[in-house]
C-alpha cells in the first residue's frame, strides 16, 4: 500500500497550519490564564491563614481573582456565542462539538459542585460551631468575676481608708508626714497623699512622694468624694496588657473628718493608692482579652463565613471555567478528525472523490482518517475504471446501433409473447410499418402484419420444439408479404418477398432478422428470362429462314400456274407468311439483343449531339407524334457507349410516342413529347429525361416496369424498358420512372436517367 495522500493542496496545508497555530496559541493562553488563576487561588487560600499577608493583600487578591474569573467568563461566553452561532448556521459538526463540550464541562462541573456544596456546609457549620453559648457564658462570667473582685478590692480599700482617715482628724497640716506613714503601713499602700479642699497637696508618703507633681484626682472625683465621703477607682487597666500590669492601681479618696466643722471650713482629703495583685490583674486581663477576641469573632462571623465561602465559590468558578475551557479545547481536538472524516464522507457521498486530507496523529482517529483517504483514492480509481469501461461499452453500443440503423436487413427483438422489444429502421422500411411506434406492443397488432406475426410465432414455436432434438441454432424461412391480402388490387403488384431468420437470444427473447429479397428475386427472374429468350430465339430463328425461303419459292414456282383466284390466295398467304416470319425474326432478334447485350464500352460521348442525331429520325415528316428537344448547352461529355445510348433514346421515344398515341385513341388531346438534357451541378451528373403526356403507368406496372414482358401495350414485347434498364445498369446510371401528376390525376409519364460525366473533362 502506498502512503496515504496527506495533503495535495498547498492552500489547504497552509490553512491547516494556520488553524493549528491559532489553536496552539489559544490553548497556551488559556493554560497560562488557568495557571495564574490557580496560583492566585493558592495565594488567597494561604493568605486566609497567614494573618499579616492576608491583612495586606486580601482585597487585592480577591479583586484579581474576580477579574480573572470575569475574563474566563468572557472567554467562555465568547466561545458559547460562537458555538451557538455555528449551530444556528448549521455549520457541520457544531452539534457534536457542543455535545462533547457539554459532556466534558459536566464532568468538570458536577464534582466541583459536589465538593462545593459539601465544603459550604462544612465551612458554615464549623464556623457556627466555634461560637458556643456556654463558652460565651463562661467568658462573661469570668469577666464579671474579675470586675466584681476588682470592685470589692476597691470598696475594701475605700472603707479601710475611711477608718484610717480618722487618725488624721486632729493632725495639723504641718506634721502630717508621720501619721501618713503610719497609715500607709497600716493599709499596705504604695502612696498616701493628703489634699486640701483646693486640691493642693498637703503631704504625702510612698514611692511617688518625690515626684514633683503627683497625679491629682480630677475635680469630679473630689466632688464625688465629698458627697459620698469616700470613693475608689481603678487606674492603669486601660492600657494594661497581660504582660504589663505595673500601672494597675486602686485609688481611694476619702474625706478626712473635720470635727471643727464650720470652724475652719477646710476639708481635707486622703488619697490612698494600692497596687493590685498582679496575678489577679493578669488573669482578669486575660479573660478580658479572650472575651474581646471571642466577641470580635462572634461579631465578625458573618464576615468570616462570607470570606471563606467567597473563596470557595471563587475556586469553584475558576475550576468550572477551567474545566469548560479545557472541555472546549479538548473537544475541538477530538472532534477535528471526526469532522474531517465526516466532511470527507459527505464529499464522497456527493460524488467528490478528490484526495482527502489525513491527519498524521498516531492514534486511531488519525489512522482512521488515513484509511479513509486510502479508501477514497481506491474508490476514485475504481470509479475511473468503471467509467472508462462504461465508455467503451457505450461506444460499442453506439457502433452497434449505427450498424443496426444502417443495416438494410430488418432486425426485430421480440419477447416470447410476440411483443416488440426493439426494432431497427431497416425493419420499418422493409415491412412498411412504423415499428418504432409499436415498441412494447405485439407484432400482431401492427396493421397488415397479422399473418406475418402468426407465421413467425409458428416458426419460433416449432424451432423451440425441435431445437432440443436437432441442435439447431436458428431457423430460416422465406415469406411473401402482401400476397394473400384480401383487398389487394393487383396480385403481383405489392408483394414483398422476405427471407427471415430467427434465433433465441440468451435472455430468452427472440431475435428476428429478415431481408427484402424482392429485387434479388426480380433479378433472378430477369436472368432466367434472358436465358429462356436466348435459347428460344436460337431455336426459333433456325427454322425461320427455311420457312421464309420455302414460302417465297412456293410463290415463285406456283405464280402464274394457278387460277387467278388461287393466285390471289397464294400471293396473300405467302405475303402473310413472309411478313409474319419477318415479325418473328425481329422479335427473336430483340430477344437475342436483350439476352446477349454486349458489355458497354464507356467512352466520352456528347449526349446533346447524340440526341440531335437520333432526332433526325423523329423530325416532323417522319414522326407520328411531334418531339421537342430541350438540350442544356452546358452539358459536359458523359461516359457512355454511344451505340447503346442510341438504343436507349430510341426505346424511350418509342414508348412515349406509343403512350401519346394510345392517349389520342382514348380521346384526349395530348401535347408533344419532350426530350431534354440537364447538367445537375450539385450531384455532378447529366440528366436525360423523356416526358410525355400520355396515359402514364398503372401503379402495379410502375413497380415492375423494368422486368421483361411487363407491358401495357397491345403489341409489345415488354422488353423496351428492360433493355433501357440493362443499359443503364451497364452505365452505372440511375433510372427513375414516375407518373407526372397534374391536378391530382395522372397526366403522363416521365423517365429520367442520370449519367456520370467524363472525369478528365471535369478536372
Amino acid at each position: 500500500m502506498s502512503t496515504p495522500v496527506v495533503l495535495d493542496d498547498a492552500a489547504a496545508h497552509k490553512a491547516l497550519n494556520h488553524s493549528r497555530a491559532v489553536r496552539w496559541s489559544i490553548g497556551i493562553g488559556l493554560a497560562a490564564m488557568t495557571a495564574v488563576g490557580l496560583v492566585l487561588l493558592f495565594l488567597l487560600a494561604q493568605a486566609t491563614n497567614n494573618q499579616a499577608m492576608y491583612e495586606q493583600n486580601y482585597a487585592r487578591l480577591f479583586v484579581l481573582n474576580v477579574v480573572i474569573a470575569g475574563l474566563l467568563l468572557l472567554v467562555i461566553g465568547w466561545i458559547a456565542v460562537r458555538l451557538i452561532s455555528r449551530l444556528r448556521k448549521g455549520r457541520f459538526g457544531s452539534r457534536l462539538l457542543l455535545k462533547l463540550a457539554a459532556v466534558f464541562a459536566l464532568a468538570g462541573f458536577v464534582p466541583g459542585l459536589l465538593i462545593y456544596v459539601v465544603s459550604y456546609q462544612f465551612v458554615s457549620r464549623s464556623i457556627e460551631s466555634w461560637f458556643d453559648v456556654k463558652v460565651e457564658g463562661a467568658l462573661e462570667a469570668g469577666l464579671n468575676l474579675g470586675r466584681v473582685t476588682l470592685e470589692t478590692l476597691a470598696s475594701d480599700l475605700a472603707s479601710k481608708s475611711r477608718s484610717s482617715a480618722s487618725q488624721l482628724v486632729d493632725v495639723p497640716d504641718a506634721i502630717v508626714s508621720l501619721p501618713l506613714d503610719r497609715v500607709r503601713e497600716q493599709l499596705g499602700a504604695e502612696d498616701v497623699f493628703l489634699w486640701n479642699a483646693s486640691s493642693q497637696l498637703i503631704g504625702g508618703t510612698g514611692k511617688s512622694r518625690f515626684q514633683l507633681n503627683p497625679v491629682r484626682p480630677t475635680p469630679q472625683q473630689f466632688r464625688n468624694a465629698r458627697t459620698q465621703r469616700a470613693m475608689s477607682w481603678i487606674e492603669g487597666l486601660d492600657e494594661a496588657t497581660p504582660g504589663d500590669i505595673t500601672n494597675a492601681r486602686i485609688k481611694a479618696l476619702v474625706v478626712v473628718p473635720n470635727p471643727n466643722l464650720g470652724f475652719s471650713g477646710e476639708l481635707r482629703y486622703l488619697q490612698v493608692t494600692q497596687a493590685l495583685p498582679p496575678t489577679l490583674v493578669a488573669n482578669a486581663l486575660a479573660v478580658t482579652e479572650a472575651n474581646r477576641e471571642y466577641q470580635e469573632r462572634a461579631l465578625a462571623r458573618e464576615g468570616l463565613k462570607r470570606m471563606y465561602i467567597g473563596t470557595l465559590t471563587l475556586s469553584l468558578f475558576l475550576a468550572v471555567f477551567g474545566a469548560v475551557l479545557l472541555a472546549v479545547v479538548l473537544g475541538n481536538q477530538i472532534v477535528r478528525p471526526l469532522l474531517l472524516l465526516a466532511d470527507g464522507v459527505n464529499q464522497v457521498a456527493a460524488g467528490d472523490l478528490t484526495p482527502k486530507a489525513a491527519l498524521q496523529g498516531k492514534d486511531e482517529l488519525g489512522g482512521l482518517t488515513r484509511a479513509f483517504a486510502d479508501m477514497t483514492r481506491q474508490l476514485s480509481d475504481a470509479r475511473e475504471a468503471v467509467q472508462s469501461s462504461m465508455e467503451q461499452v457505450n461506444s460499442a453500443r453506439a457502433n452497434l446501433q449505427t450498424i443496426l440503423d444502417n443495416l438494410t436487413a430488418g432486425v426485430i427483438v421480440l419477447d416470447p409473447g410476440g411483443v416488440i422489444l426493439s426494432s431497427n429502421p431497416g425493419a420499418t422500411r422493409i415491412l412498411r410499418a412504423p415499428l418504432a411506434a409499436f415498441e412494447g406492443r405485439r407484432l400482431a397488432d401492427v396493421g397488415g402484419l397479422e399473418e406475418f406475426a402468426a407465421d413467425i410465432q409458428r416458426q419460433f414455436d416449432s424451432f423451440l420444439g425441435e431445437r432440443a432434438e436437432h441442435g439447431l441454432e436458428a431457423w430460416q424461412h422465406s415469406f411473401e408479404l402482401g400476397s394473400n391480402q384480401p383487398g389487394g388490387s393487383a396480385p403481383n403488384g405489392d408483394i414483398v418477398t422476405l427471407v427471415a431468420r430467427g434465433a433465441q437470444l440468451p435472455d430468452n427473447t427472440r431475435l428476428l432478422v429478415f431481408d427484402d429479397i424482392s429485387e434479388i428475386v426480380s433479378a433472378q427472374r430477369s436472368q432466367a428470362w434472358g436465358e429462356v429468350a436466348r435459347r428460344l430465339a436460337h431455336e426459333i430463328k433456325n427454322p425461320l429462314t427455311p420457312i421464309q425461303l420455302s414460302a417465297e419459292r412456293l410463290e415463285m414456282k406456283l405464280s402464274g400456274k394457278v387460277l387467278p383466284t388461287e393466285q390471289a390466295i397464294l400471293t396473300k398467304s405467302v405475303k402473310t407468311i413472309v411478313d409474319q416470319v419477318d415479325a418473328m425474326k425481329r422479335l427473336v432478334n430483340e430477344f437475342r439483343d436483350y439476352a446477349r447485350l454486349p458489355a458497354a464500352e464507356l467512352k466520352p460521348v456528347d449526349l446533346n449531339a447524340l440526341v440531335a442525331e437520333v432526332m433526325q429520325l423523329y423530325d416532323d415528316e417522319n414522326a407520328k407524334v411531334p418531339v421537342h428537344m430541350e438540350l442544356d448547352a452546358g452539358c459536359p461529355k458523359i461516359m457512355g457507349d454511344a451505340h447503346q445510348l442510341r438504343q436507349v433514346v430510341h426505346n424511350l421515344l418509342q414508348n412515349a410516342q406509343d403512350a401519346t398515341e394510345s392517349a389520342v385513341s382514348a380521346g384526349s388531346q395530348p401535347g408533344a413529347v419532350v426530350i431534354k438534357t440537364q447538367w445537375v451541378e450539385s450531384s455532378g451528373r447529366v440528366r436525360l429525361s423523356v416526358l410525355d403526356q400520355g396515359c402514364g403507368f398503372p401503379e402495379n406496372i410502375l413497380r415492375r416496369a423494368f422486368e421483361p414482358y411487363v407491358t401495357t401495350k397491345v403489341r409489345g414485347t415488354g422488353l423496351g424498358l428492360a433493355v433501357v434498364k440493362k443499359i443503364a445498369d451497364e452505365h452505372a446510371s440511375r433510372v427513375d420512372i414516375a407518373n407526372r401528376v397534374v391536378d391530382g390525376k395522372i397526366g403522363g409519364a416521365q423517365v429520367s436517367l442520370s449519367f456520370a460525366i467524363q472525369k478528365t473533362a471535369q478536372t
Binding site: L143, R147, L285, T288, N291, Q295, G303
Partner: protein, 161 residues
C-alpha cells in the same frame, strides 16, 4: 500665643446600634478627622496647601466599665504625634468629647500665603480599615458601619491676636 491655622468643629452623629454593640463587647473603634487646607487659584484647580490628620480611638474597658478616648495627631500636622487619653464613665461623655474638635492646629503660619483666599475641607469618618479583617468583610458596604461627614468651607484666614 502661637500663630497658625486653628480649627474648631462640632460633629453630631448617633452611634449605630451595631457599632455600639461592638464597642460594648470590647472592640475599639477608630475615628479619623482629616482637614485639608486649599489655596484659591483663579487659573487652576485649588492647590492643596496642607493636610492634617487626627485619629481618635474609642474603647470600652469591661473590667472597670469605663470608656476611654485616645486622641493622636497624624504626623502630617507638624505637631509631634502625642497621644492624649481621657477616661469617661459613660458612653455619652466619651462621645461628646469625641464629637468636639477645639482649637486643632492644622497649619503653621508660614504655610499660609497672606492676602489670598483659603478653603478648608473637613472630613470625619469611622475608620473601618483599622477594624479586624473579618469585620471589614462583614462591614463592607453596610450602612450600619458607615459614619462619615464632609464639609467644605471658604474661610478667610486671620492672624491670631
Amino acid at each position: 500665643m502661637t500663630d497658625g491655622v486653628f480649627l474648631s468643629a462640632a460633629i453630631r452623629f448617633d452611634l449605630p446600634p451595631a457599632v455600639e454593640d461592638a464597642l460594648l463587647k470590647g472592640v475599639p473603634m477608630f475615628f479619623v478627622t482629616e482637614a485639608d487646607l486649599f489655596r484659591d487659584r483663579w487659573y487652576w484647580a485649588d492647590k492643596k496647601v496642607v493636610t492634617a490628620q487626627r485619629q481618635v480611638r474609642l474603647a470600652y474597658q469591661p473590667l472597670t466599665r469605663r470608656w476611654r478616648v485616645t486622641a493622636s495627631s497624624g504626623a502630617s500636622a507638624g505637631v509631634a504625634g502625642a497621644a492624649l487619653s481621657q477616661s469617661f464613665d459613660s458612653l455619652n461623655e466619651a462621645l461628646i468629647s469625641l464629637q468636639r474638635v477645639s482649637r486643632w492646629k492644622i497649619a503653621e503660619p508660614f504655610e499660609v500665603e497672606p492676602g489670598s483666599r483659603h478653603n478648608v475641607e473637613l472630613r470625619f469618618r469611622l475608620d473601618v480599615t483599622q477594624l479586624p479583617r473579618p469585620f471589614q468583610i462583614g462591614a463592607l458596604g453596610q450602612s450600619d458601619w458607615d459614619i462619615s461627614a464632609n464639609t467644605f468651607q471658604r474661610l478667610p484666614v486671620e492672624p491670631e491676636k
